[in-house]
C-alpha cells in the first residue's frame, strides 16, 4: 500500500539527515544517499564501526559531493601543499571542516587501518586540522585525499591555503616573554621584601647583594620582555605618531636607569619590582588582546572560493591544470557542482548556473551555447565545456579586487579611544615632569631629578594600557559566546560608532537554507505521486524542495522525461502527461505581477495550481528594522526587485532599497554614504558583497556555517544570532563607556602617585604598592562591568 510508506520517515544512519527514498538500506540501517551508504560499507568492512558508537549520526551529509582530485598528482601543486617530503616520507597538514565530534577524531586517527602506508595521523580538534605522515611510494597524495573523501572527511584545499603562511610563532614568542617577565617579577619581589620591611644593622651587607641580584633580573625584563615597547615607540616617533607605547617605553627606561644608578651608587633600593611588574602586566594585557579563532579566517577572498586546479582538454585528452596557469583559449571542463574559475564562453552542454554567491540571485539560471558566463558561478547538472576568454585575475568578479579598497591599509579607519587619549596623555605627562624638574632645580637639583623621574615612573599609563585590552577581550568572548566573531579588539570600538546599517538581501536577511513553500490547491494522492515522480528525476533545487514537501511517496517509472533549463519538466508517467514548470511552460506566456517565485502544475493538459516559494527572512529582522530612527537602514541587493513590497515592512523608506546592484555599484554606494559623513556597517554574505564589506567602516559577513566560505571581513556573524544585532550594537557602546570609566579610575591613581612624585618623595614601596593595586582595580572593574552590561543586554 502506498499510503503506509508515506508515514515512515527515516533519518540517515550516517549523517542523520532525513531520507527521501528507501533506496539506500543495509539491514535495518537507512541512508540518505549513495555517499553515506558507501562510507558505512567502507567502515564496516574495516571493522571501524565503533565510529558510530561514540555519537549518533557522526557523519556529515554526502548529498552534494562528487569532487575530483586529479590535480593532486601535479608535482607543482603537491610541492606547495606538502609540509615535508622526501622519498620515504611525506607530511601534510589538511584542513577538514567536517571535524566536529569525538567520532571524527577517533576515525581520523585510525587511518593506518585503511592503508598501512599511512604511518601516523593526528588531529588538532580546534583548528580542524589533520596532520598525516605517509609513505609517498605506497600511497599518493591523491589517493590519500580520496580515502579521506571516501570516509566522509573531504579536506578543503584552496589556493589561499597554499598562499597563506601561518605565523603562530609570534604568539608563542609573547608567551615566552611573559614567562621571563613573570619569573623575574616573582624573584625580584621576594628580594625586595627585606628592604621594605627594614633590615637590621648587621644585615646591611645583604642589601647590596639583593640590589645586584635585582639588576640582574631587571636586565632580561628590559632587554628581552620589554624590548618590543622600545621598538614600537621608536618606530612611531619616526612616523611622527605619539601612541601609548612611547610613555610606556619612557617609563620602563627611566625605571631601569634610576634603579641602576640608585643601586650602584648605594643611594637607594631602586624600583626593580615596579619595573618587572609593569612589564609583566603589560605583556599579559597584550596577550589577552590577541584572541585567535583557530577555525575562522577573516581574510578569505575569491582565491579560497575558487578551486586549486581545473580540468582542461588538450589534444582530446583531459588533464588537470593549476588555476594560475589557466590562460585565454584554454578549453575547460566543468562538472556538476564545480565552480567556473574564469570568464568563459559555453561551447558544449546545458549550463544551469547557480550565481547565488556572486550576484545574490536566489535561483540558478540557464545559459545557451556561445554565451559568456562570468566566473564564480556554480554549474548544476551535466558537465559542460567552455573556452576561457579572460584569465582568472581579470575576470568580471576578480576585477573588484583591483579596487583601491582592497589595497588600502586598515590604518586609516577610525582611531580608537586609546590612540586619541594617549597622544594628549603623553604631552601632559612630559609637561608635568618638566615643570617638576624646573621648579625644583634652583633649590635642590637632586630632588628635581628625583621628581622628574618619579613623575615618569608613577604616571606610566599602565592602567590605561590595560583597560582597553581587558575590557575588549571580555567583550570579545561575550560576542564569541553569542556566535558573533570579531577579527580583533578594535572592531568593538568601531561597532560602537556605527550609525548606518547597509544590508545585502539573499543569504544575509534571508535564510539560505529554509525557504517557505506553499501549495495553493489540495491534490489527490495519485496526483501528488505523479508530481513527486516527475520531480524526483531532477536535481534542480526547486524540484528537490517539492520532493521534500511531499515526503517519501514511492517513485513511479517515468517515460519521455525532459528537463528544459529555466522552464521546467515534462514527463509521461503511468499514461499521464505531467508538466511542472514556470508560467512560460504551462501557459505559454509570462504572468505579470507575481511577487513570489512560482512553479505551476499541470496533469493531462489540466491546470491544477502552483507552488509558491517565499523567501524566509531571518528571525529578528523586525528587531533589526526597529533600529531605524537611531540607525539609518539601507538594503543593497544584487537580486531582482520582486520582493520590494514584502520588504517595505522592514525598510519603510522605499528610497533606501536598491536592487539589481553589481558588486562595483555596492562598493560605490558605500563610498557615497561615507562621503556624507556616515559611519557605515555593511552586512553581506557573498563574493558580490566583498567590495562593499571592504569599503565599509565595519564589514560583517553573515553565514549559516562559520566554516563555510565567507568573504573577507572584520567580523563573522552566525545567522542564528542575527536577531541579537541590536543588543550587540548596544553592548559595544557600553563597552566603550566602560573603557572611559576605567580611564578615569586610572587617572585617579595617577594623581595620587603624582602628588608624591612632584614633591620628590616617591619611595620604592609606594610605587610598588600603587602599580599592582591600580592594575588589579582596573582588571576587576572592567571584567565585572562588562559582564554586568552583557547580562543586562541578555547576551550572557
Amino acid at each position: 500500500m502506498p499510503e503506509t510508506t508515506t508515514l515512515v520517515k527515516h533519518s540517515c544512519y550516517h549523517c542523520g539527515e532525513e531520507c527521501l527514498t528507501n533506496t539506500y538500506q543495509i539491514q535495518d540501517k537507512h541512508f540518505c544517499c549513495q555517499g553515506c551508504q558507501s562510507v558505512y560499507t567502507i567502515l564496516s568492512s574495516t571493522g571501524l564501526c565503533s565510529y558510530y558508537n561514540y555519537n549518533d549520526h557522526p557523519g556529515t551529509t554526502r548529498l552534494r559531493n562528487d569532487k575530483r582530485y586529479d590535480y593532486l598528482s601535479d608535482p607543482a601543486i603537491m610541492a606547495e601543499l606538502l609540509d615535508y617530503s622526501d622519498e620515504r616520507l611525506s607530511v601534510i597538514t589538511l584542513y577538514i571542516p567536517q571535524i566536529h565530534c569525538s567520532s571524527c577524531l577517533w576515525l581520523l586517527e585510525q587511518l593506518n587501518r585503511f592503508n598501512p602506508a599511512i604511518h601516523y595521523s593526528r588531529v588538532d580538534f580546534l583548528k580542524k586540522q589533520l596532520t598525516v605522515r605517509f609513505d609517498p611510494q605506497a600511497i599518493s597524495l591523491q589517493q590519500l585525499v580520496e580515502l579521506l573523501n571516501d570516509v566522509g572527511y573531504e579536506p578543503l584545499i584552496s589556493l589561499q591555503d597554499i598562499i597563506k603562511k601561518q605565523n603562530k610563532a609570534e604568539k608563542g614568542n609573547l608567551v615566552q616573554k611573559i614567562a621571563v617577565a613573570g619569573f623575574c617579577f616573582g624573584n625580584v619581589m621576594l628580594l625586595s621584601f627585606p628592604e621594605y620591611f627594614g633590615l637590621s644593622a648587621f644585615e646591611q651587607n645583604f642589601k647590596s647583594f639583593f640590589g645586584y641580584l635585582n639588576i640582574l633580573f631587571g636586565i632580561p625584563v628590559v632587554f628581552y620582555s620589554g624590548w618590543g615597547y622600545f621598538v614600537s615607540a621608536w618606530h612611531n616617533i619616526r612616523n611622527k605618531i605619539l601612541n601609548i607605547d612611547f610613555p610606556l617605553a619612557l617609563g620602563i627606561a627611566v625605571l631601569f636607569i634610576r634603579t641602576l644608578t640608585e643601586i650602584l651608587t648605594h643611594s637607594g633600593a631602586g624600583f626593580a619590582d615596579t619595573l618587572c611588574g609593569l612589564v609583566f602586566f603589560l605583556l599579559v594585557g597584550k596577550f589577552v588582546q590577541q584572541k585567535t579563532y583557530h577555525h575562522i579566517s577573516f581574510e578569505r577572498d575569491y582565491r579560497s572560493f575558487f578551486p586549486v586546479a581545473v580540468q582542461i582538454i588538450t589534444d582530446g585528452k583531459e588533464k588537470p591544470l593549476p588555476l594560475a596557469e589557466l590562460h585565454t583559449g584554454h578549453r575547460m571542463v566543468i562538472r556538476h557542482n564545480e565552480i567556473i574559475p574564469a570568464d568563459a564562453i559555453l561551447l558544449k552542454g546545458e549550463a544551469l548556473i547557480d550565481f547565488s554567491f556572486v550576484t545574490g540571485e536566489a535561483f540558478p539560471v540557464s545559459r545557451t551555447l556561445g554565451e559568456i558566463i562570468y566566473a564564480g558561478g556554480r554549474q548544476m547538472g551535466e558537465a559542460i565545456e567552455m573556452e576561457v576568454v579572460k584569465p582568472v585575475s581579470q575576470s568580471y568578479l576578480t576585477q573588484l579586487w583591483n579596487n583601491e579598497a582592497f589595497t588600502r591599509q586598515q590604518d586609516n579607519r577610525m582611531k580608537t579611544f586609546n590612540e586619541t587619549v594617549s597622544k594628549y596623555f603623553t604631552i601632559v605627562l612630559i609637561l608635568i615632569a618638566l615643570i617638576a624638574l624646573i621648579a625644583w632645580l634652583p633649590f635642590d637639583p637632586r630632588r628635581g631629578i628625583n621628581a622628574f623621574t618619579a613623575v615618569l615612573i608613577v604616571a606610566c599609563p599602565c592602567a590605561l594600557a590595560l583597560s582597553t585590552p581587558f575590557t575588549m577581550s571580555t567583550a570579545l568572548s561575550i560576542f564569541d559566546r553569542n556566535l558573533f566573531y570579531l577579527k580583533n579588539t578594535a572592531v568593538v570600538e568601531q561597532l560602537a560608532r556605527i550609525d548606518t546599517l547597509v544590508m545585502d538581501k539573499t543569504g544575509t536577511i534571508t535564510d539560505g537554507s529554509s525557504q517557505r513553500i506553499d501549495l495553493d490547491v489540495r491534490l489527490s494522492l495519485e496526483q501528488r505521486q505523479l508530481i513527486y515522480s516527475a520531480c524526483a528525476n531532477s536535481s534542480h533545487p526547486l524540484s528537490r524542495m517539492i520532493c521534500q514537501y511531499f515526503g517519501e511517496l514511492g517513485k513511479l517509472s517515468t517515460l519521455n522525461y525532459r528537463e528544459m533549463p529555466g522552464k521546467g519538466i515534462t514527463a509521461l508517467i503511468g499514461g499521464h502527461e505531467v508538466r511542472v514548470g514556470n508560467d512560460d511552460l504551462i501557459f505559454g506566456k509570462a504572468e505579470i505581477g507575481t511577487l513570489t517565485t512560482r512553479v505551476y502544475l499541470m496533469i493531462d493538459g489540466q491546470y491544477l495550481g502552483y507552488f509558491a516559494f517565499h523567501h524566509h527572512y531571518r528571525a529578528g529582522l523586525e528587531q533589526v528594522a526597529g533600529l531605524a530612527p537611531t540607525y539609518k537602514l539601507y538594503l543593497l541587493s544584487g537580486d531582482q526587485d520582486h520582493e520590494r513590497a514584502e520588504l517595505l515592512r522592514f525598510f519603510p523608506n522605499n528610497r533606501h532599497m536598491y536592487f539589481n546592484q553589481s558588486p562595483q555599484q555596492k562598493l560605490d554606494h558605500i563610498q557615497r554614504l561615507q562621503q556624507q559623513g556616515l559611519k557605515v556597517m555593511m552586512l553581506g554574505d557573498g563574493l558580490n558583497d566583498s567590495g562593499a564589506l571592504k569599503q565599509s567602516d565595519l564589514g560583517i559577513a553573515v553565514t549559516d556555517n562559520v566554516n563555510n566560505f565567507s568573504p573577507g571581513s572584520d567580523a563573522i556573524m552566525d545567522g542564528r544570532s542575527f536577531h541579537k544585532l541590536p543588543a550587540f550594537l548596544g553592548f559595544s557602546k557600553d563597552t566603550v563607556r566602560i573603557i572611559h570609566l576605567s580611564f578615569c579610575i586610572s587617572l585617579v591613581y595617577n594623581l595620587i602617585g603624582l602628588s608624591y612624585a612632584v614633591t620628590g618623595t616617591l619611595s620604592p614601596l609606594i610605587a610598588a604598592v600603587l602599580m599592582p593595586l591600580s592594575t588589579a582595580t582596573i582588571i576587576s572593574f572592567t571584567t565585572l562591568a562588562t559582564h554586568y552590561s552583557a547580562k543586562r543586554r541578555a547576551l550572557l
Binding site: G47, L48, C49, S50, N53, Y54, S102, L105, W106, E109, V123, D124, F125, L126, K127, K168, G172, V175, Q176, A179, V180, F183, G186, N187, L191, F202, E203, F206, F209, L213
Partner: protein, 54 residues
C-alpha cells in the same frame, strides 16, 4: 647568615630550571594543542572493544 647567599643561589637556579623546562615545552610545540589530547584520552578504552568485535 651567610647561608642566605647559598640558599638564594639554589632557589634561583631551581627556578631557572623550571623556566628552561617551560621554554623547552613551548618550543617543542607541547602547548600548541591543549584541547585534543583531552578528547583522545577518553577514546582509548573503547578501542579494545572494537578489536574484540572484529
Amino acid at each position: 647568615m651567610t647561608i642566605i647567599y647559598f640558599l638564594i643561589g639554589c632557589s634561583v637556579l631551581l627556578a631557572l630550571c623550571f623556566l628552561a623546562a617551560f621554554f623547552w615545552a613551548q618550543r617543542s610545540g607541547q602547548n600548541d594543542d591543549l584541547y585534543t589530547p583531552g578528547m583522545r584520552m577518553l577514546l582509548d578504552d573503547d578501542q579494545d572493544e572494537a578489536a574484540v568485535k572484529k
